[in-house]
Symmetry: C2
Subunit: 341 residues, 2 copies
Amino acid sequence: MTLSDRKKKILYSLVDDYIVTAEPVSSKKIQEEHLPDYSSATIRNELSALESMGYLVQPHTSSGRIPSQKAFRFYVDQLMVTPLSRDEISAIESHFTDKISSMQDVMSRVAEVLAEVTHYTSVAVGDSIGKETINKIRLVQLTQGNALVLIVSDRNVFKDHIIDVPVNLSEKDLENVNNWLNKLFTPKKFDELKDIDLVDVLNDELKSLHEIFEDVLKILREVSMKKQEIITQGASQILDYPEYNDIDNAKQFLQTIEQKQKLAKLFSTEDNGLELNIKIGREEEQDLPDGCSVVTAKVGLNQNSIGNIGVIGPVRMDYKKVVSVLDHIGKLIEKLLNEEE
Amino acid sequence: MTLSDRKKKILYSLVDDYIVTAEPVSSKKIQEEHLPDYSSATIRNELSALESMGYLVQPHTSSGRIPSQKAFRFYVDQLMVTPLSRDEISAIESHFTDKISSMQDVMSRVAEVLAEVTHYTSVAVGDSIGKETINKIRLVQLTQGNALVLIVSDRNVFKDHIIDVPVNLSEKDLENVNNWLNKLFTPKKFDELKDIDLVDVLNDELKSLHEIFEDVLKILREVSMKKQEIITQGASQILDYPEYNDIDNAKQFLQTIEQKQKLAKLFSTEDNGLELNIKIGREEEQDLPDGCSVVTAKVGLNQNSIGNIGVIGPVRMDYKKVVSVLDHIGKLIEKLLNEEE
DNA sequence: TGCTAGCACTCAAATAAACCGAGTGCCAAA
DNA sequence: TTTGGCACTCGGTTTATTTGAGTGCTAGCA
């Protein structure tokens, strides 16, 4: 069943108002501030109808109405990206004047600027490593007896692991090992390493060095298990919103923010092709605290995603602004990554 | 002026009590729960004396007393490490059963366990890089035209930077460059790099490759500026304490926790030879939010510090427990690092 | 038929008043 | 010097009262 035009206008205005004030909205207020062409009595009738349709809730008989989750869903489904203010744009861009030094760097800057501009808590989740492709592996001898394992994937360089090697390993041996490492492990995705069994693939010539290969494989597997980078920013800002004046609510929210694993799940939206994803309240998500909404977006160049970003805040969040800011940042990152190439 | 024995006992009991209840302590309560040998009237007289000496404060005429900062200082100066409970010990040790994979790993696990066992917000700050010694520098050719800059210090390996090199660079040239890099920059502390001027040191032979040296120096300087790793855990736990039922207090606290730079200053105690450092309220520190205390400790093996850890919480924190837990963790880490060798 | 002005009714929130009791200070006696 | 006793204080809680924003409904008008 579809809403009459007037009902839509009224509902939209009411949500718009509620997003700003967090107070039940009265018929009179809607009339005065949004729709002066109808009397408050008329609006009252419509409100009453909208309530019985499940869009509105009345905290008690003689109060205004507040939007239900259904109303917010209606609201965001109508949303369009709106232009940002000059100040907001310059605030965003000021964070990206320096050269990008790494993907982590991008993500942490995005988190900062998102929190700053939207005034909500921002989250940035890097993509997990399992799906990256290993492009190059190389042992670099550091001193007699140990070497650094250098792994280059399509998105990262890993250089955190040092292994023991035979003291008498010659340059030539090393070269040989390096060749074999690349033959064995590239180009492969990290996730594919699960199934490799070294016994099958090492020929006799390499048997004497099998420890090296085992060590490297172990490291590759460790790297692939490495937890995703998860950055949050501006958690304390949540306390500026009246719905979190209640200590218990605030605590629940902050605990969610601290549980990085759950957060990651919340923000790593399954790949539904959409660039933007809005979750309102407990609609479907278990891990979302009651009364919270989440807006997420992918960042990256074309197919080549580097992670997800977004904000988490009260259901009554300023979706318009958040969506617009995410849109702007997304495009900006895309441009920056393009220039990097 | 020194306190009489009885005054000490009373003051100590009062602080002990206040740490648990966060409520003004009455003479009667001290008598009943700590010192049944004196009447409440006697204790009242002593309390009155202690108040005029600045150790106690009375929120209003007909209430019990709360300890002043001076009283807490008295209290912690008497503090001894007390044995932990079996549960606490096993909680701590359960976090350190896996092999240590990196210093960051140690720090983040310490932060976790500290927050868990003390129920306060924990902070772990890695030592800043400037004072590390560069032991080895090496360019590793990745593909034609670019190379990874590998820097090994006495505590870390840095491998996050890739530079352009001439496409026609031969193995031999690279070798030569590597030798020179080590001649120029090792063994030096990062901080010493400020003063180096390349023009002075490059001979004619290397002039053609001067870009490489400049790039490497730039990277070295970048690395030395790299911000310290700062990890916090359990921030939401602060809301469990009644002094943070006030939203404004809570917000102030959380904002402090989010300002990693200030936090780092707070926890990187200047090297005064002490292993443990307790800062109570605003005693001297500007950056400490009002009503907060900080207990910090160094972690590391002998002289070889890897960072500082500690907790931040209400002035009325359970110093006894915090100190004991820090002591235990410190010793545990020392043992683990020793085994690593 | 649809809109609106008017009015009685509701109820949360703000304000005021009354009460309670934990705790102190002080005095006089042991 | 210590202690029992007692009057006094004052924050916190409970109860009563007031206020006003907001609704639902009805009757009249276009």
